[in-house]
């Protein structure tokens, strides 16, 4: 379904260093893939390139991103917009700032439908309420009318998920979706992702710096370091038998972190 071939992204404005250097990814329908690395490793740039959210004037993009048999890198802006929100949904790190502060939650969730389908307002509303129930937003009828500042961090992230998932896209790109949340809320949100994957068959591309979090959701994982993929395979294999030095460090860091937690 998703095939990333030899993707290279170069930033031409401030520093000419390559952000992403010739990476390859492959995802089947319903697959869960984690993209792990430290900040600056190029994982977010990769995700944003796939989602078509990298500003064209600041970066030079080469390679192929084949999604459903089409090369997204060669789509025009308007063609890309038909995919964004309909077939690919994105969830960002900061639920505080990623929602429009002046728009009711329900309207933000509906917006994704409104942009892609011609439906009556009542139909959109019932779709929104349904997806809100699906992601576990409490009292959908009331929450529908609320503004982002009236929700908790976890609820905002659920609202983000609802908006990204309402059209039942084939792929959800999750850019550090739980990093800004507390540990208990984190677990709940991860459950939501797992449920969406298992029940609705959506593929997840999960970007995180935290291998532990990725392990709880993703069957496969790709480890990025300095713009390249240094290790790619089944999550459990990599956890039990890491090949690359950097992966070993990551796992060590996670277990050290776990010790301090306990």
């Amino acid at each position: 379904m998703l095939d990333v071939k030899n993707l290279t992204v170069t930033f031409n404005d401030d520093h000419p260093a390559e952000a992403v250097r010739g990476i390859n990814l492959h995802m089947e329908d319903g697959e869960t893939l984690g993209l792990v690395g430290e900040s600056g490793s190029g994982k977010t740039v990769t995700a944003m390139t796939i989602a078509g959210l990298l500003a064209n004037d600041s970066a030079e993009i080469n390679g192929e991103v084949i999604f459903d048999g089409r090369d997204l890198l060669h789509c025009s802006c308007s063609e890309m917009r038909l995919v964004q929100g309909k077939d690919i949904g994105v969830i960002f790190q900061e639920p505080m700032t990623s929602l429009d502060p002046l728009m009711r939650i329900g309207h933000q969730i509906e917006e994704t439908v409104r942009l892609h389908f011609k439906l009556k307002p009542e139909e959109r509303r019932s779709m929104a309420l349904e997806v809100m129930r699906l992601v576990g937003l409490p009292e959908p009828d009331l929450t529908y009318k609320k503004y982002p500042h009236q929700l908790s961090g976890g609820q905002r992230q659920r609202a983000m998920i609802a908006a990204a998932f309402i059209n039942h896209p084939k792929l959800l790109i999750l850019d550090e979706p739980t990093t800004a949340l507390d540990v208990t809320v984190q677990a709940q949100i991860l459950d939501v992702f797992r449920r969406l994957n298992e029940k609705c068959g959506v593929s997840l591309l999960f970007i995180s710096h935290d291998l532990r979090v990725v392990r709880r959701v993703c069957k496969k994982v790709a480890v990025m370091y300095n713009g390249e993929i240094v290790e790619y395979g089944d999550t459990e294999d990599i956890f039990t038998n890491p090949q690359h030095e950097y992966t070993k460090q990551l796992i060590a860091a996670v277990s050290a972190g776990r010790r301090t937690h306990v």
């Binding site: 404005d13 401030d14 944003m48 990298l54 500003a55 600041s58």
Partner: protein, 286 residues
């Protein structure tokens, strides 16, 4: 997602041009104290309504007076009034804003309410009301504008003091037993200098506009006191057909003075007198 390209490394063109324009005007005014090409008040029927060029750089008016000399002197009048008004507004405003911002409390609340009420009205309108009561003339204009500028300065300074009060260096100074007066004016004041300077620049901008407006309305500097740009503009309006350069010179001089100060305040960063209430609210909720 997207980075601004080198925005902080680009030269501050606003500040540079603002300083260049203002320096030229100030230089012209300083020269006018000692020397002007002609006596600004010398009339000559023979040289009436001469077009710009030749000995008279900007031509002559309907009385044969040299317009360039009059602009030089008029700009001086305008700027000196603006200077005095801003000095009054800034000094009283700084003291009031400093005290209320540093100590807070009920007085702060009360004075800020009055400030809000006063600044809700256009200063030119308030100036007109007061001038009705006190009469016009240079001294009156200075005091009226000076007093009317106090609230806006007080508001800017108050906000900054309230912010600085929370800083560690102020807390340390307090612990070390430094007296409040010294903390306020020796420790805090230098730290808010950039904001204050920007406020002063915008104050000059407003003062020049207000003085010119009032003189144009005939309630500013009287004809017998001094040449004033606003008054020149008013008087020259009737001579558009015979000598348009009269009004053009005076009007351009006013605009250039205002432009210079506007650019400086722009270059110094924020425009602190714009909707500070909004900023205050936004910050609490951001």
């Amino acid at each position: 997602m997207k980075k601004l390209k080198n925005s902080h490394r680009a030269p501050n063109y606003n500040l540079i041009w603002g300083c260049v324009i203002t320096s030229i005007m100030v230089l012209m005014i300083v020269v006018s104290f000692f020397w002007t090409p002609f006596n600004p008040d010398a009339m000559s029927y023979a040289e009436k309504d001469l077009a710009p060029g030749g000995a008279h750089l900007l031509g002559t008016d309907n009385f044969g007076r040299d317009i360039f000399s009059r602009v030089m002197e008029g700009a001086g009048t305008t700027l000196s009034i603006a200077f005095c008004a801003v000095a009054i507004g800034a000094s009283f405003g700084t003291v009031i804003g400093g005290l209320t911002g540093y100590f807070g409390g009920a007085w702060d609340e009360f004075i800020m309410r009055i400030n809000d009420a006063v600044t809700a009205f256009p200063s030119i309108l308030l100036a007109l009301v007061i001038v009705t009561i006190t009469g016009s003339g240079r001294t009156n204009i200075i005091f009226i504008l000076g007093i009317l500028f106090i609230p806006s300065f007080a508001r800017v300074v108050r906000g900054e003091f309230a912010k600085q009060r929370q800083m560690d260096y102020v807390k340390n100074a307090k612990l070390m037993g430094v007296k409040p007066g010294r903390i306020m004016f020796v420790h805090i004041l230098p730290n808010i200098a950039p904001v204050l300077l920007s406020a002063v620049a915008i104050g000059f901008n407003n003062a020049v506009l207000a003085e010119a407006s009032m003189s144009y309305l005939g309630v500013g500097v009287s004809q017998t006191e001094a040449v004033s740009l606003g008054r020149m503009l008013l008087d020259s309006q009737a001579y558009w057909m015979t000598s348009p350069w009269q009004a053009l010179s005076a009007g351009c001089a006013i605009s250039i003075l205002i432009l210079g100060f506007a650019l400086i305040s722009e270059g110094l960063g924020t425009r602190p007198m714009w909707r500070p209430t909004t900023k205050r609210r936004r910050k609490q909720h951001a």
